[in-house]
Structures are given as structure tokens and as C-alpha cells.
Homo-oligomer: 562 residues x 2
């Protein structure tokens, strides 16, 4: 198995019989999936998603793939294929379209409908090209064939990319529920046929590659929901992802059985379920849907709220209900179902919501206590089927952190893919398929692009480092006024602090005299250089804080000259 | 089931036939367990642990129980019973002994040995009273009987507290492994006998009350370790909790079978395993243990390192190995086993370590991929046995967040404890057992006490709020020098920022002219009041940042008078 070296050179020119694969996101992380394929100077992109920040990326709203590699090549892009409409596959589309508005978006009916409805909010009207499973379409030199895959959103696709340099199968995200709610199975027969024709490179979803076995069927949730509904006397609130049409369908069906009305809560839930219903992906019994306003007025035992906020997002309706900051007042006898995964990193926020709701008297049912969620990604047992059916000549695990990619590579190795034809790459690593064999040929610049408020890419790693220090330790600023003609300090030093945990009184009685003394001695030695004064101040304050408090706040000396 | 009201009054005087129970920690959280029992003016404390901070408590090292309630009553304390030597049960002992050094510590042989070894580092020599299961001891009016319980550390105890006001059974932490490594079972026979005699109040461990079923045996890990060892060509590193003597024993046994030497890594691992070995709780084959230095020199295939750092602690050896900042250089073929739980909130840190090790070529085995960990706490299926055997007249779930306490209360209700005799309390809530019935009679002040660096209790909630803002948004400070005689600004405004993500150039070209203009207009209007100038500055800068960046950094205007 090849691994990227710490410092890879820029890649050489791609041979005319070669296919180049570069992930600009999605390798070494779960999120911001974006893979660029190149053949004879033309580009095809698969997915363009966002990544949600981790705790050591404070204040950041979103992380985008790094588009720099495309900067001068936007005109070469034939199409952007969207495998499905999850945020980690489509969330960065508006940002890419800012660079070139007329990149054709290729996807299934539901995928494009959800993307368009999202782009409307960004005031963008994309060029789209609707495709469906079992069909083929050509975009420049790329002949594409689409396959149905089952996932936690309907209408997801895998895509085969055929060029004279070889055939690539990109699974997108998938699992292999054998009794899916919509009867639309992952097309293993198609994978097998393609495998028989010869797949030179398989890119496959690694999210659950560490998890043994197979996934339970979405259907298995229904009896659990039924039991919870049957035992619920008062209000029922179900939180799940706003794109999980089948999960919502099961809640609607259970609500119908228990003669409850349903209201959707949360902007993206309302928007997506509207789209899914209009297109026939969601079946809503007549007269069942009501407005949240009406739901508030009805007897709690007659309604179900289907809400966003399953990840503990602090501004979501569910978080606000848990904190008693919402018109819906949670009370004893209410039931809340978190019918969703728990994305790593969100545990503290989610448990806070669960505890808050519990404290108010609600019964909270979640995936650790009941089967109210099944994953959308194939675990190891299912991934082996795909590897054995496709029999790829080369394999590249995608969509995962290192632990997932490595586990998936191991599965490929066990099914007989030679180790020198398994490539674990990272974002920006250049993988070339030449003469039927993959290899790493270099790397392109590829970093994190942070969206913070209205800015894209302006918040840097060094800003985040400052935020981490400020967040853990606070700061101490020391302000002095220097008369530049006399070279004397005529104002201050004044000490201001936030977050350091040190009392103002301690400064004035304890360290300020020391600092004044040190500054006076410096003045007597003729020091008037502001840089030297700042250094001296930082040293005196820093030593005092370290000795007395064993902490390291940011120390910011400021000399204002008058 | 009684719940605390948002605002409970201070409790009335305790009737002479009453027993009072106040948790100063451990209710509504997992950690800082500390429960105070009062009878006829005398106090008995059970446990005195620490809580580890959550992400919204940035920069904090530890959180202590709030000792304020004991402030004037330290002389009334008869004893501090320590059920076992986990940090969340003993970690705050040094801080309590600072208040009164001669509180007798009561515990089992191993518990006291580990506590004493820890207190030595704080230069404290406690008064101790060693007890063991099956024995009774009196401390003032409290007659105590101790019961063996099985947990993820040896020699753990449950304690019955008998007073004329009633009999309380406090389980401490426990599970019910029926084939424990040391043959020391949770004493269900004892619980049954006590239940037969009559238990007025049961306090029982709620950590896993939401989890259905029973726990796997510690023994079940052995074949998994054996398989991993058998397939490991190079170095093996096992990370687990530094107090998990039985887990370490199993690693030692497996290492012996595979003829590998063992080195302990990490200060607490070395210290605790030394104590456990000296007292005979850990059996180490002769010549097996080597120093880390020697392990570094040996062929990797002949050693096992047993290390701390299983929670992703950034300064631990394991984290440093993952970041290539440790003498042990992880390479392809190495195997790392995380034989531990994953405490909620630590996921990001732990996965970072796993990904780092994986990227360097190691195979990482952890609880999500293999059975290399079993919990130390009884799940619902086992808790029911205790409830049915003890048949308590009143029940109070302890050791858990709201979701755990509520789930445990539900189990008690299902086993027949009347709902009005089940009390879910929070830290500081006063629970009185009078005439054989529990009830909430009030509350005492009880907050979080933060240890940060060398200070205890000096970092406040408002400081933490400042840190959170600084950490997410950074700050902008604006400094002006005001000539107090003329009322004119003679220096500045100068703008300094850290972490706001805003360029210095943007300030000087864009908002500084606006600010100067606003200040000049204020001066023309005769405004010289520094408070008004600061308000004006905050408004101008804040609006500009909000309009142009949609962010909310902390804005700190400073007027220095000369």
C-alpha cells in the first residue's frame, strides 16, 4: 500500500494515456468531499461538500475544499457530478459556483431539486443535467454510467467514469439495506457487470470500514417507533437529519397509525420535506401536516413535531426547548426521540440537550438506549461484497479519516487487491492511473479554507492559534503612553485583562509596582525604544503570572506614542 | 418521583430522628462524587472526587465539589469513606484535607494505598482507617458495614450506613461480572441479607442505567488480546486507565504467553502499578518488567508498552507518539490497542491520536472495532437485580447526568419502589429521610469550583464566558489617550486585534477614519467623559464588524488619561 510522503513534489505532466485523481477534500476527514478527475486536460469533479469544524477550529462556521488547484483551470471543468444531497457532498457548491457560475451540475432528480432549493437562498440558478440510475451520459471525454445506491437520503448514485485511460467506479456514500423502504437497492448486479467488464480503479466509501458486520435495515426502526408512540401520553418530538426522507416517512406512518398530526420544525426540515413531497419521495396523508403555531395550540397527545437539532446545535429549536427558550414548553409525559447518529465531536452538545429535556420531565429515547437509528454507510461486512463483486485492479479508499481509509485498505487487501495497487492518499495528493496501475505522482497545495461570518479564506491557522490561546487562557494587555519628544512614559502603565482569571486587585497591588520599577530602571538606562519596552513588559508580567498562577495568558504590551 | 424546584429554600433544621443526605457533587454529572450524610449534628462523607471540564469550561484543569456547605462544619465530620480509588471519587481529597487535615479516611487496602501515594505528591499524610468487606465499623453515630463490589479497579466497596433514623446502602461504583478475574464478586448475598433486614434508602450507581442488558466479563477481552498479539509483528502498545489493575494483568499475562517484555509508560501508570504489585493485586512474572529506556533499545517484536493516554490527553506519551514527538517512533507493523472506554467529550482528541498513529503505519485496535474494553458500571439489566434484592423503601439514583438518573429512577419504579419514594436530586439539594420516607427539604449553595493552574475557585463563570467569546471571536481593542486638562484626544485611536480574523489593513483604511470622525464630532459636542467615549467607540467598531463580517468579537475601548 502506498502512502503519501510528508513532502511530495508537484506532480509531473500527466501522460496522454493517464487519468489523474486528486481529492481536494474528503481524505483524512469525514466531510468536504470533492474529487477531481483529469483526462487529456479536461476535468470532471465528483461532489463538492463542506466539513464542520472541530473544537480546535473555534469560531469557524464551515470548512471548504481548497479550490486553489482549480483556480486557473475552471474553464476545463466539464461537469460537477453530485452523488447525493448531503451537506458534506453539496455544501460547497455555492462557493464553487462563485468562481464559475455555469459549471453543469449533474445529479439525480431529488439531488438536483435539493441543491437548487439551497442555491436559491444564495441567489444562484445553476445549469443542471438530470440523470438517473441505469443511464449513460458523456461530458467531454468522460463517459459516465450511473448506478442506484441505497443511503440515508433517497436517490443517491454511484458513478462509473470511463475514459480510454481506464474505468473508475466511485461509489459515493452507500449502504446495502436489502429491504429498503423505497425498494431501490444498491445495484450490486450493475457493480458485478461493470466488474466483469473490468474496473481499473474503485473509490469506495470508508466511513464504517472499522465497524464489523452489516447494517440493520431502516425498516427495523418502525416497531421501535411504534412502541415509543404507543407509550407516549403527551407531546412527541422526533429529531433527525433534515434530509433523511425515509426516516421522516417512518415517523409520518407511525404518527398516522397513532392518529397524531405532524408539524415540521426547523428551516431546512421544512424546505427539504417540501421538496421531497412535491417530487413524490415523501408520502404525506392528507390533512396530516399542520403548522407549528397550530401544533402549539393542540392537545399535546395529538401532535408530533419532526425537528432538526439532533446534533445539539445550540440555536436549534430542540436546544432551545431543552433550555426553556422556545414556545414549546417541555413537560412531564413528553417524549423526545433522537432518531439520528451522533457525529463525533457533538457528544457534549447532544448530551446537554438530552439532559436538559430529561430534567424538564421528558422521556428521551436515543440510539444508545433504543434502535431509533441505523447508519447510512456500509460497515466492513458489506464493503467486502462490493470489493468481491467489482474485483477492482486498483483501489483507493475515500470518504474517511486515516483510521477508516486504512481499515478499508485492509479489507481490499484481504479480498485480493495487490498491496501495491492500493493507494491511501490525503487531500491534495495526486494519484495517477497509467497503464492500468495507480501510483502517487506528487501533491498540490491543499489546505483548510475557513468560512467565518461573511468571509471565506480570511481566517488563518495563526488566527485560530490566537483564538485557542485566548479561549484557554485569556489575555493581559498593558498600555503605556510614551512622550516621543522626551522619551518618557507619561501615561500608564494600565493593565487590562479578560479571561485570565486574575483579579484586577492582584495586578495593582502585586505586579504593577514591579513593572513600574522595571520601566523606571530602563528609563534610567536610557531605553526609549518601544520594542524594548514591550519586551520588558511581556517578561515582567509573564514571569509573575507563571510563578504565581502557573498559567500562560496572551500578554499584549501596547505603547502609544504622543 | 420528586424533582428539585428551580429555587429551593435553605433547608429547615433536621429533626432529631432524621437522616440528611446532600450530594455536593456527582448528581447531574459524571464526576466529583461527594455525598454528605448528617445525623444528630454529626457528618459522614462518602467519596470526594474531581470532575473533568467540558469544552465550554475552557482552560480549566479540574472541577471540585463545592465545599462551602462544610465550611463551618468541618469539625463535625466523623470520617470520609472512599469507596474506591478512581479520580472521580478520590481526586478532591487533597483539597478537602487542606481545609481540615485530620479527617479520617476510610477505605479498603488498595484504595488507601493509592490515595496515600497520591497524597504524598501533595505532601499530605492522612489519618487512615483500613476496612474490608464483611466488616463493620462505627464512626460517631454512624455504624458502617462494608460489602465487596466488582468494578474496573480492584478492592472497591459498597457501604451500608446505619443510624437510628434508618439504614442507607450506598453502592459506590459497581458492576456484576460473574466471573471476575480476582474471584471477588459483587456481594449480592450481602445485599439480599441487608435487604431482608430492611434498607430505608438505596443510593446506586446510575452511569449505565440507559444501557440495556448486562456487561461482558473482563475475561472476554483475553482471547481478543491474544489474537491481536499473535498477529503483531513489531511493537505493541496498550493504552488503558492507570488504575485498571485487572486490564493490565490481562495484558501482562498475554505478553508472557507471547514472550514479550513489558514497560510501563506514564507517571500514574508507573506509580499505581507499583502500589498494586507491592500489595499483591498485580502479579508480574519475574524478569518481565523493563524500563522504557531499555524497551526503546530492544527489537520491537519483543516488547509491550503499557501506557496512559487512552483519552487522547495531549501531553501523554501516546499523543506525542502519534505526533512524532516521542523517543518511541511508531512505524509500519506496530500495533496500538486502546483498551479503554471513550469518555464523552474526548472523541475528537482520541480519534486524532488514532488517526495520527494509523497514518504512521500502526494498526490501531479500539473498542469500536474489537472487544478490548468492557465497562465498569452495571447496565440496566444488572441494576434491576440490585433493586430486586435490596428492595429499598426509598431510592435515590446517584453518579450520573440527568439522563442516567432518570433512567435509573424508571428502573426502580418498574421494580416496585413507589414513585413518591424515588427522589432525583441535584448537587446541593437536601434530601431528608424522616419516619422512613425521603423528601426534598431545601437546597444549599453548590456551584462549580474550578482549579486553574495554582488557583482554586478564583476562575468564575464570568471569566469562562469571556474565554468562550475570546476563543470563538477574538477581540478588538481600541486605545485612545485623553489629555484630561484639555479634554482632547492626544494619542490614538490605535486598533489592536487578535483572533478576530480581520486584517489590520482593513481597520486603518476602512473603520479608523469613521471612528476618528465620530470622535471629532463628539469632541465638538463637548463630550469628554471617558465612559461616553468608550461607548461611542464600541458602537462604531461593533456596527462595522457586524455589517462587514457578521461576527461579534469582544470590543475593548481603553481611554488612558494623561
Amino acid at each position: 500500500m502506498s502512502h503519501p510522503h510528508p513532502e511530495l513534489p508537484p506532480p509531473p505532466a500527466l501522460p496522454s494515456n493517464g487519468l489523474r485523481v486528486i481529492a481536494l477534500g474528503g481524505l483524512g476527514e469525514i466531510g468536504r468531499n470533492m474529487t477531481v478527475f483529469e483526462y487529456q486536460g479536461r476535468l470532471l469533479i465528483v461532489d463538492c461538500g463542506v466539513l464542520f469544524p472541530e473544537p480546535d477550529q473555534p469560531g469557524v462556521d464551515l470548512i471548504l475544499p481548497d479550490f486553489r488547484y482549480l483556480e486557473d483551470r475552471l474553464g476545463d471543468v466539464e461537469a460537477l457530478v453530485l452523488t447525493h444531497a448531503h451537506e458534506d457532498h453539496i455544501g460547497a457548491v455555492p462557493y464553487l459556483l462563485r468562481e464559475r457560475a455555469n459549471i453543469p451540475l449533474v445529479g439525480s432528480r431529488l439531488t438536483l431539486a435539493l441543491v437548487k432549493s439551497k442555491l436559491t437562498e444564495h441567489r444562484l440558478t445553476p445549469e443542471v443535467s438530470e440523470v438517473k440510475e441505469g443511464t449513460t451520459h458523456s461530458f467531454g471525454p468522460f463517459d459516465l454510467e450511473f448506478f442506484a445506491v441505497n443511503h440515508s437520503i433517497p436517490d443517491a448514485l454511484a458513478v462509473a467514469i470511463k475514459t480510454p485511460a481506464g474505468v473508475v467506479l466511485h461509489t459515493g456514500d452507500f449502504k446495502m439495506d436489502q429491504l429498503p423502504l423505497d425498494g431501490r437497492l444498491t445495484d450490486l448486479a450493475g457493480f458485478a457487470r461493470l466488474g466483469g467488464e473490468g474496473v481499473d480503479l474503485l473509490l469506495s466509501d470508508s466511513t464504517n470500514a472499522e465497524v464489523p458486520g452489516i447494517v440493520r435495515s431502516e425498516r427495523d426502526i418502525a416497531p421501535v417507533l411504534d412502541e415509543v408512540f404507543a407509550n407516549a401520553a403527551q407531546r412527541i418530538i422526533v429529531a433527525c437529519f433534515a434530509s433523511h426522507v425515509h426516516r421522516v416517512q417512518q415517523v409520518l406512518d407511525t404518527a398516522a397509525k397513532h392518529r397524531r398530526k405532524v408539524a415540521f420544525v426547523g428551516r431546512s426540515m421544512v424546505r427539504n420535506m417540501g421538496v421531497a413531497r412535491d417530487l413524490g419521495y415523501l408520502r404525506v396523508p392528507g390533512g396530516m401536516l399542520i403548522d407549528l403555531r397550530d401544533a402549539e395550540e393542540m392537545p399535546p397527545g395529538e401532535v408530533v413535531l419532526i425537528s432538526t437539532g439532533s446534533q445539539g446545535e445550540p440555536m436549534s429549536a430542540l436546544s432551545r426547548m431543552a433550555g426553556r427558550d422556545h414556545p414549546i414548553r417541555i413537560a412531564a409525559g413528553d417524549t423526545v426521540i433522537l432518531a439520528s447518529s451522533l457525529i463525533p465531536g457533538n457528544e457534549t452538545a447532544v448530551y446537554r440537550v438530552i439532559n436538559g429535556l430529561t430534567r424538564l420531565g421528558a422521556r428521551v429515547v436515543h440510539k444508545e438506549s433504543s434502535l431509533v437509528h441505523v447508519s447510512g454507510h456500509s460497515p466492513a461486512g458489506e464493503l467486502l461484497y462490493v470489493l468481491n463483486l467489482v474485483k477492482p485492479r486498483n483501489f483507493m479508499p475515500v470518504h474517511g479519516e486515516w483510521r477508516h481509509l486504512r481499515a478499508h485498505a485492509r479489507l481490499a487487501s484481504l479480498t485480493g487487491v495487490p498491496d501495491d495497487r492500493i493507494v491511501i492518499a490525503e487531500d491534495g495528493v495526486v494519484v495517477d492511473l497509467v497503464d492500468g496501475k495507480v501510483g502517487i505522482s506528487g501533491a498540490v497545495d491543499c489546505g483548510y479554507v475557513y468560512v467565518d461570518g461573511l468571509t471565506v479564506g480570511e481566517v488563518t491557522e495563526s488566527q485560530l492559534k490566537d483564538r485557542r490561546i485566548l479561549g484557554d487562557e485569556g489575555f493581559i494587555s498593558v498600555i503605556m503612553v510614551l512622550d516621543s519628544s522626551s522619551g518618557k512614559i507619561v501615561g500608564g502603565p494600565e493593565i487590562h485583562t479578560r479571561g485570565s482569571g486574575i483579579d484586577n486587585a492582584a495586578f495593582s497591588t502585586d505586579v504593577l509596582p514591579k513593572l513600574i520599577d522595571a520601566l523606571e530602571r530602563a528609563a534610567n538606562d536610557g531605553v526609549t525604544d518601544t520594542h524594548a519596552l514591550r519586551q520588558l513588559t511581556r517578561r515582567v508580567i509573564g514571569k509573575w503570572v507563571s510563578d504565581n498562577y502557573r498559567r500562560r495568558p496572551m500578554i499584549i504590551p501596547v505603547v502609544v506614542e504622543v
